[in-house]
Symmetry: C3
Subunit: 316 residues, 3 copies
């Protein structure tokens, strides 16, 4: 069993309930991971994912080996049949097969390059590991998805859910650097599995996410209108998907402000972090009582722990 | 309870005695840290602190997660109200609150930048964590202090103390690079808590440390005179505090030599390491039987272990 | 007891048998390393060695502290008597003595610089640690040797040995970058300890390894002739030893191809990895059933575990 995408979750409702159980007693399964090893491979920077996934593994009694692949290992080649007389020292075929022998589970972070859409959509790194590894693979944010984040988001919403059917809004917001679509992609996929929530995506025209992911999810280009009566505002920047990896809009009117939050039904404010204050969201909003971003980050531990626990139970 | 400064030590005498007890039986409290997690965040290079603090935590049975914040995480913003459209990706507010959720104790190393005195004195990084973290913070060398080093120094001196009231000399020595004042600052503060030792600081005129720290500690500008009848010579370079972060003196006459050691009362030679041989101190002195620098480094483990143990006992 | 070279193995046959026992039940000695600490110091990149040595230590119940010395610590000085007013911050004398106090075993990786033959042959880094450390030292690939690799190679060959007396061929192959001789050196030394195998080295004229290592091992300059009736083909590039560290040959005719493998006695293909596909060896060969490179990497764990276990048993 791998955990690569929100699609690997059979029942979101069941998973969220299990995660909340784990949160109440995180050390209950301390013996499950005994003498099992998690190898975490980072091709990119990481704070929350690095620490929460490690913490989750330790809660399960696992051994953890962390490696920054870029700086500590060898440059990888991903092309089949490549004549390797250039920069890359090792082929993904060997790397994945070899690491599998030291690991019971391999977790991988490898961001989108945002230069070549086709390459990013092909998920070169994580697909390579999936193909050539012989142990379960966990996605710690790949080019197109960050499912452990979205699972944590679902857990957080379940903890704060309203009595009525909640309205959840994913809103684009400006950012000085070009960011991947991984987080919004997985959030959209997760929301599509929510049976008791209404979901709206709002972003400037032209900033549509991959339509194969958004499918028939509702898009509202008027941010104010989208915010009306919302119960959860999930802010996130992403770079342009059509004009791939470009920043074609940096309109500060899309920043989430206290005035905009007033349009909502006293909505909770969410963001996956790290967040650019006063660019994505004003201090007033993120510092308000309605901001649940820190609890969201806390739930990363239980999201990761559920994923690892589910895999360990499957390989037993 | 935090451990940020020598001022967090209520009774130096009591702490030194406890550390010496720990040293005799370092695994005695192996259960105290069970299922507790130490997160170590490095904003700068580290050898002794990195390994001895980890070792101390392992002796207490803790889990340890080590992170080089600069290269593995995100650039932090420290200014309240900043519009984060420049280099920094994450605000200390979120970083500190988030890491607190994965840690029972956070230990931090963040050196002085030596460019902006006010900023360094404000202890931007460690103050930010103190303000926004929700778990105890341990100082692994901040801009202005290195209290776990000075505690190890106190332990080492207690092990080698003479029958008579010892004379301890902190002597400046030359160095090719501009170094922070953190180590001498904490050493001075620790010495001010020593009731049964005499203390003299010696350095070239103009190299005075922050007078708010040295207070009425004795300063003797004549190194030879300072060395007379000394029982401990503690050598350390620091850059100019008045002409902040500058090297205004590199006089090789301040190097600790065997001839100068002859002026002392057969003094022990101490240095926090790393040390520039034949610049700070000659080979002859550091390789002599009177050099206790290696034992000093050894005591870093017990200094850290006492700090962690005291915190763990307080949070129980 | 240190493990620096193949020469530290008293009986290769006995060691290989012990390693195969460990492989069958790797957790049998889980208590041997309890409360013992392995410090792994990397002066160079590492994938297999980094993970397999850690894994081996965890199998033995040890604590592991991993440090990338270059980026996380201080630049070291190795010259006795140096006036340290240049780049290096710390002398190997202090570094080795200090790390010894936090470790029960120190494992070190420090590659050849390939600029100064004399310096590389002097094994500056590992010799410095050997001289100044006070705990056992393990070589995780030094300038001139990689004995844990060659021990893994011996284990792998023992698992695949033929009924008749096998013929083992170490063949040079081209590579775009200048590589050290550490792996072939240790492989040669290990083969010289094999009493029931025939051994041939093949490489272009001028690519002779250090004659003090190869001694009377057979050299055959005609690769095709060397391959005849071989049972094991061990491919590896190394840079020129005479014209030290230079690439004086990059002849693609030395690449191991399926046609060349046909000259052999259905030989197994071996390489220490990472390997440049279609430069060192064609895809066809390395992807064939006769390729045992992944099992070779797997045996790195048991090779390391035997080394650590032997040391732990000696220090008890």
């Amino acid at each position: 069993m791998n955990f690569i995408s929100i699609q690997n979750i059979d029942s979101l409702d069941k998973w969220v309930k299990q995660a909340l159980k784990i949160k109440k007693n995180p050390l209950k399964n301390k013996k499950l991971g005994k003498n099992k090893t998690l190898v975490m491979l980072f091709f990119n920077a990481s704070l929350r994912t690095r620490l929460s996934t490690q913490k989750a593994a330790l809660n399960l009694g696992m051994n953890v080996m962390v490696m920054n692949f870029g700086s500590e290992g060898w440059t990888l080649e991903y092309e089949d049949g490549a004549i390797m007389n250039q920069g890359a020292s090792e082929h993904i075929k060997e790397a994945a097969a070899v690491v599998s022998q030291y690991a019971d589970i391999i977790a991988i972070r490898a961001f989108a390059g945002l230069v070549d859409k086709e390459k990013d959509n092909a998920e070169m790194v994580i697909s390579g590991f999936l193909k050539h590894a012989t142990v379960p693979i966990v996605n710690m944010e790949s080019a197109t998805g960050h499912p452990m984040q979205s699972l944590a988001d679902a857990i957080t919403m379940a903890e704060h859910k309203t009595e009525h059917r909640p309205k959840v809004v994913l809103t684009w917001a400006p950012h000085p650097r070009a960011l991947p679509q991984a987080v919004p992609n997985s959030f959209v996929e997760m929301m599509q599995k929510q049976t008791e929530m209404d979901f709206v995506i709002t972003h400037p025209k032209g900033y549509e996410l991959n339509p194969e992911i958004t499918k028939d999810s509702k898009i509202e280009y008027d941010q104010n209108k989208a915010f009306e009566n919302a119960d959860f505002i999930y802010a996130k920047n992403w770079s342009n998907y059509k004009e791939y990896g470009q920043i074609t809009n940096s309109d500060p009117n899309w920043t989430v402000t206290a005035d905009k939050m007033k349009l909502t039904n006293n909505a909770k404010f969410m963001h996956c972090l790290p967040v650019r204050r006063n660019v994505i969201v004003t201090d007033e909003v993120i510092d308000s009582e309605n901001s649940i971003v820190i609890e969201q980050a806390n739930n990363r531990t239980y999201s990761a722990q559920l994923v690892l626990q589910t895999i360990l139970e499957n390989v037993k």
